[in-house]
């Protein structure tokens, strides 16, 4: 009798994922985010300003059942521009730079902030990807501009709680911050120009 229930239970389990998932995101505290920006003498930066320039700003992913169907939304607890802004400011601080009332202005636009779910035989992959362009300026005079991206692939044996989504998204956020910290072009631009 129990064997006859197995397939219906599995089918129901794959189909019963209709609840939206809310994900709080932040860079884990044990991530150093140190890169070539730490070789640059300490500079003052004003608060980072990011806009969400995505086409679909209502969600950051879809929850899917085992058949690949969209059953619910994956949502960020905070606006994605706040999440990325905080990540960039944390990265600057970890590389020895300071937030101040005046200094280098950092503005940017997010073009991608998405997490996808892919079911395998024994586990599920959660693949997160973030893309944004940042512009660094001194008194509205553009100093440097570049496109940055962060991505992460997390494998989990379950997709029931928000944890695997959170791990993947935090990993992508860390990867994005590292991409900025590792940018030798940015480090060179900051070294060559003095603050206004």
């Amino acid at each position: 009798m129990r064997k006859h229930l197995l397939v219906p239970v599995l089918v129901l389990a794959h189909g019963c994922v209709f609840n939206d998932v809310h994900i709080p995101m932040t860079i884990p505290q044990d991530e150093t985010l140190t890169g070539y920006l730490s070789d640059v003498a300490s500079r003052d930066f004003t608060a980072v300003k990011i806009i969400d320039a995505r086409e679909d700003r209502t969600r950051i992913g879809f929850r899917r059942n085992g058949f690949g169907q969209e059953t619910a939304d994956i949502l960020s607890d905070e606006p994605v521009e706040i999440v990325v802004q905080r990540a960039v400011e944390t990265m600057l601080a970890n590389n020895g730079h300071k937030l101040a009332d005046s200094g280098i202005q950092v503005t940017g636009a997010i073009s991608a902030f998405w997490i996808e779910q892919d079911w395998n035989y024994y586990d599920t992959e959660f693949i997160a990807r973030i893309e944004c362009e940042l512009v660094f300026s001194i008194q509205h005079d553009e100093l440097y501009r570049n496109a940055y991206s962060g991505s992460y692939n997390h494998r989990s044996f379950h997709a029931v709680s928000a944890k695997p989504w959170r791990i993947a998204m935090n990993g992508a956020l860390t990867s994005l911050a590292e991409d900025i910290a590792y940018d030798t072009g940015l480090a060179t631009a900051l070294s060559q120009r003095t603050a206004g």
């Binding site: 397939v7 085992g66 058949f67 892919d118 035989y121 990807r129």
Partner: protein
């Protein structure tokens, strides 16, 4: 300056090569002697050695949807999985040929390893020829590379590189937990766009390998080396 650096490299290469015949007591003072005789101009950039071990080369894949295989397992049992996998693998080979003509182009390792070694050596990290317990060991396992769907709603794909790595510190036997290295390409497009432009696909694939190699090298450089 460059000649002195190469001499130091050659000296250090000989030390690593002969490590089996040199006692541990002699190795430490010899290493110190090499460091002390390094070119003065390089003294500000510490010389760091490590041993690189890529234990798995990974497979080139074009992943449109793995979930179809799972559907088969739920409804039709494990035979269904085998059939779906064979079908998917056959189709992957066709797509591989479309975007990556030539054997070199479907190899996950070459571009990644080249970028990794180049960035390490630019920053004075020298990769030893043979393993040595006095050196940190960077062990990399390439899981897969190729193209995969990153948004199943829009069917957009990008190039990708997926690996795990561990950096074991010198003189320890304890292996740290594996870290994930996943790099997705900058271009997100439908598969038909990559099919119609093999040059775009090949360029994206090379770029993602290079970024993966440079990213891992940067992580090692800023992790402190040995």
């Amino acid at each position: 300056m460059l000649g002195s650096r190469r001499k130091s490299q050659a000296i250090q290469g000989n030390i690593v090569h002969r490590s089996s015949t040199v006692t541990r007591v002699a190795l430490v003072p010899l290493s110190l002697w090499v460091l002390l005789t390094a070119d003065v101009a390089n003294a500000a950039a510490p010389v760091t050695n490590l041993y690189l071990s890529i234990v798995r080369d990974g497979e080139f894949e074009v992943i449109l949807s793995r979930s179809k295989g799972v559907d088969a397992s739920v409804l039709f049992g494990w035979v269904g999985i085998t059939l779906m996998m064979d079908s998917r693998h056959a189709r992957d080979t066709e797509r591989e040929a479309l975007v990556a003509p030539g054997a070199e182009a479907t190899v996950c390792r070459s571009g990644f390893e080249r970028a990794l070694r180049n960035r390490l050596e630019e920053k004075n990290f020298f990769v030893a020829i043979e393993p040595n317990r006095q050196l940190p060991v960077l062990k990399v396992k390439i899981v897969a590379c190729g193209f995969r769907v990153l948004n199943r709603s829009t069917k957009e794909m990008s190039a990708f590189f997926d690996a795990t790595y561990r950096l074991r510190q010198a003189g320890t036997r304890q292996s740290p937990r594996a870290q994930r290295l996943f790099v997705a390409g900058n271009v997100l497009a439908a598969w038909s766009e990559f099919e119609q432009s093999p040059a775009l696909a090949a360029d994206e694939f090379q770029q993602v390998q290079m970024r993966a190699g440079q990213t891992l090298a940067n992580k090692i450089i800023f992790a402190g080396g040995n």
